[in-house]
């Protein structure tokens, strides 16, 4: 089985990744990172190598995937359905009512549309 981390280069994304790694170890599942930020993810090669080593030690695999769908929410759900993942881990952040009204919320989309459990985490500093 697989744990999917919706990653973006922001504190929320980092927190999701940390939590996702823990979750993967706990469930003994492979880790799948989906980049939902604009452009390329900011995980550098060294960091990825370390993470991969850490996971391989536990007998788990690391995959990074991106989707052709432009909307981050859709991309996460598509990949999750495709790979039949066990759980989606996503970073959450506070957003005012007005902010939600104007900009919508990817997290909300994923929570409502996902066909598997979703673990939403918050970075402490916010």
């Amino acid at each position: 089985m697989t744990v999917l981390v919706a990653y973006a280069s922001a504190p929320e994304g980092r927190e999701a990744l940390t939590e996702g790694i823990k979750e993967a170890h706990r469930r003994k599942s492979d880790l799948l990172i989906v980049n939902i930020g604009r452009g390329h993810h900011d995980l550098d090669a060294a960091e990825l190598k370390e993470l991969e080593g850490q996971l391989t030690e536990a007998g788990l695999a690391l995959t990074i995937e991106s989707s052709i769908l432009a909307d981050p929410g859709d991309a996460v759900i598509q990949t999750a359905q495709d790979r039949g993942v066990e759980v989606i881990v996503i970073g959450l952040r506070h957003r005012s009512m007005v902010g939600k009204l104007i900009l919508g919320s990817t997290v909300q989309r994923i929570l409502l549309d996902a066909t598997c459990p979703v673990l939403a985490v918050r970075p402490d500093k916010l």
Binding site: A10, G39, A70, Q78
Partner: protein, 676 residues
């Protein structure tokens, strides 16, 4: 109203109209297939031919072409995975995947039927818009019309994808360029530098063909090889029809999104189709198949890209504010016939309006039918290398631009603007606001002075219509500002829907020396306009000065951003990004910037060829220039075989020789002919 509609339908029984519609449809289908031409190219190439015709015939021809360009652009996207236009790249995602599974026929059936439906729904939308908008349009006075022109330019700039500052700068530069010639209020000459030729202003066809057509050729002429894959259609026609029927709600939704995208200036077919795709994905529970051959990924976008063109026509015809580039050119055509699009078109030319609607609907059906019948033959055209097509296209485009004014100067301007258009395209400046600005420059000024003389001070600002438009003008700006702030804070991952295309690789020279050059050109042009407008009379200089001041501010910001970026990261590290990518071995969305110098070199070479061709024309006349230029270009640039070059040149020569007797077309005469 019904009478006019029926009368228009009856008039289509006129054989000459039907023939024009058919020719337009066939031409539109062919041009849809050729990458980079699309609706803009189709109208631009056909427009010059229409100059000698009656308005109904001309409209039938142009609308016929416009209605079907997005029907045929699917063919190459599905069969070869090479979209005929940017908007077809959406269909490619699912269509090509289906074709790879041997179900090309299924994908094409879905696409053609949806295109047809999109066209018909678009035509219905246009019909409904007439009675709905009629009372509204008729209540418009000059203040509202002035606001509409402002709205047209600024919405085009704000809504077109990419950088808003770049969009606004392009729109303002278009306005300045549109003011070259005689001032509408004081009849004094502006920015003409004493030239008699510039006194008439720049020719719309030359500007449009340069900025879009030649620029496209220059950026694609380096493709020496056509598509090699063998085409197999496979089965599934019946399955396609059945599936299409089950997804009828997607068809209607896609078409409505398309109409909406068309009505908004500058959004256009590409963004419209991505919006439709995003909508289809967002509302689907099971997203597994998207990108791997989901019929919903074909149906919605295909119906959207056809209805966009109909949606474009709504503001163009009813308000005189073009929604997109093809309709901006159509607007120019109507003006040359003395038909003033806008409120008066409803009272004076209702029959023409309905003729457009009927033509659009009939062409949509005809286009889909022709596509079904000739799909195999059409697909073969995409095997022709673009460089080979480019030779003929350059010859046709230059001939086309000559028709409007009959002056060689237009052709020189076209080549200069072509180079400029290439620069804009490669550095990520949207070109639609530029052309819309160019078209709206004179109406904007005329309505402003009408308003100014009819109302005391700023009284006109208090009119309800004006206030509504002001709100429409300001809201997207606030929205864009919010998005900008969010993007700066790097917390935009939670921005909900992001329906537009992922940052595309259409602008390979972004953030390079070239974009710095482009920003500098903008800055210098606005500065020059500001300085030279100081010598005009107060009335003639007001608008140019306002526009160029605004332009200076925006291009100044651009220049500042560019320079700051240079100081921060120095030159783009093409090799490093590539190496990094190779090391990681991960599919990224960022495009590597390697190889851009090659493209630039090739574009430069192509423009030198065009200049050479024009020099030959000026010296020896068009026919001789063609017989020298075409074989030389084919042999040296396109590296075609000798046999191909000879046949190509021969056919083109005969067509050009026969053309003036068939159509009202003049061939440019050279300096040599004046001696004989």
């Amino acid at each position: 109203m019904l009478d006019s509609a029926m009368a228009a339908l009856a008039s289509l029984a006129d054989p000459s109209l039907l023939i024009m519609l058919l020719i337009g449809t066939v031409a539109g289908l062919i041009m849809g297939l050729i990458p980079g031409l699309g609706g803009t190219g189709a109208v631009a190439i056909l427009l010059p031919i229409t100059f000698g015709m009656e308005p109904p015939q001309a409209l039938a021809l142009l609308i016929g072409a416009l209605a079907v360009v997005h029907t045929s652009d699917t063919v190459s996207a599905v069969l070869l995975g090479a979209p005929g236009s940017a908007s077809a790249s959406v269909t490619m995602l699912d269509g090509y995947s289906m074709a790879k599974k041997g179900q090309a026929a299924r994908a094409l059936t879905l696409a053609f039927l949806s295109s047809m439906a999109g066209g018909i729904i678009g035509a219905v939308g246009l019909t409904l818009a007439i009675p709905l908008a009629r009372p509204l349009v008729l209540s418009f006075a000059s203040p509202e019309l002035f606001m509409l022109t402002v709205l047209g330019v600024s919405l085009a700039a704000v809504l077109s994808r990419g950088n808003i500052i770049k969009g606004v700068s392009a729109g303002l530069l278009g306005l300045i360029l549109g003011m070259v010639g005689t001032s509408p209020t004081t009849a004094e000459e502006r920015f003409t530098f004493g030239s008699l030729f510039l006194g008439d202003g720049l020719s719309l066809v030359a500007v449009a063909l340069g900025i879009f057509g030649l620029a496209e050729i220059a950026s694609r002429a380096s493709q020496r090889r056509g598509q090699k894959q063998t085409i197999s259609l496979g089965g599934g026609w019946g399955q396609g029809i059945r599936e299409w029927l089950t997804h009828w709600t997607q068809v209607i939704r896609g078409a409505l999104i398309g109409i909406w995208a068309g009505v908004l200036p500058g959004v256009g077919a590409t963004a419209g189709t991505w919006m439709a795709y995003g909508q289809a994905v967002a509302t689907a529970k099971d997203k597994r198949q998207f990108g791997k051959g989901d019929p919903r990924g074909i149906v919605g976008p295909e119906s959207a890209n056809n209805s966009v063109e109909a949606g474009d026509l709504i503001p163009t015809l009813l308000f005189g504010i073009p929604g997109g580039v093809p309709s901006a050119m159509l607007l120019g055509m109507l003006l040359t016939y003395g038909i003033q699009p806008g409120p008066s078109i409803i009272t004076e030319h209702l029959d023409l309006m309905y003729l457009i609607v009927w033509s659009f609907a009939i062409a949509s059906i005809l286009g889909a039918l022709l596509c079904f019948l000739s799909v195999k033959q059409l697909a073969k055209l995409t095997k022709v290398p673009f460089a080979v097509l480019a030779a003929g296209l350059v010859a046709i485009m230059l001939l086309g631009s000559f028709q409007e004014g009959g002056q060689l100067g237009d052709l020189w301007i076209m080549i200069v603007l072509g180079a400029f258009g290439w620069l804009l395209k490669s550095t990520g400046f949207p070109r639609a606001p530029f052309l819309i600005g160019f078209v709206l420059a004179i109406p904007l000024e005329r309505y402003y002075f009408l308003t100014d003389s009819l109302y005391e001070g700023f009284d006109w600002m208090a009119r309800p219509g004006v206030m509504v438009f002001l709100a429409i003008l300001i809201l997207p700006m606030i929205w864009a500002f919010i998005k900008f702030i969010r993007a700066r804070r790097h917390t935009n991952l939670d921005d909900g829907h992001r329906d537009e295309q992922p940052e595309d690789d259409e602008a390979p020279l972004k953030n390079s020396t070239w974009s710095l050059t482009a920003s500098s050109i903008f800055f210098v042009a606005f500065a020059a306009a500001l300085i030279s407008s100081a010598s005009f009379s107060p009335e003639a200089r007001l608008v140019p000065q306002l526009v160029s001041t605004g332009g200076l501010i925006f291009s100044g910001i651009l220049l500042f951003i560019e320079i700051r970026r240079r100081l921060h990261d120095g030159t783009p590290k093409a090799d490093e990004t590539l190496a990094e990518k190779a090391e990681e071995g991960i599919l990224g969305t960022q495009t590597a910037k390697a190889g851009w110098t090659l493209d630039a070199k090739f574009a430069l070479k192509t423009f030198l060829w065009m200049t050479g061709f024009l020099a030959l024309t000026a010296a020896f006349g068009y026919l001789i220039a063609v017989t020298i230029f075409i074989p030389a270009f084919l042999l040296i640039v396109a590296r075609a075989r000798l046999k191909v070059a000879i046949i190509y040149t021969g056919v083109l020569y005969i067509v050009l020789l026969a053309l003036p007797s068939l159509l009202p077309i003049d061939l440019p005469q050279g300096w040599l002919n004046t001696l004989v």
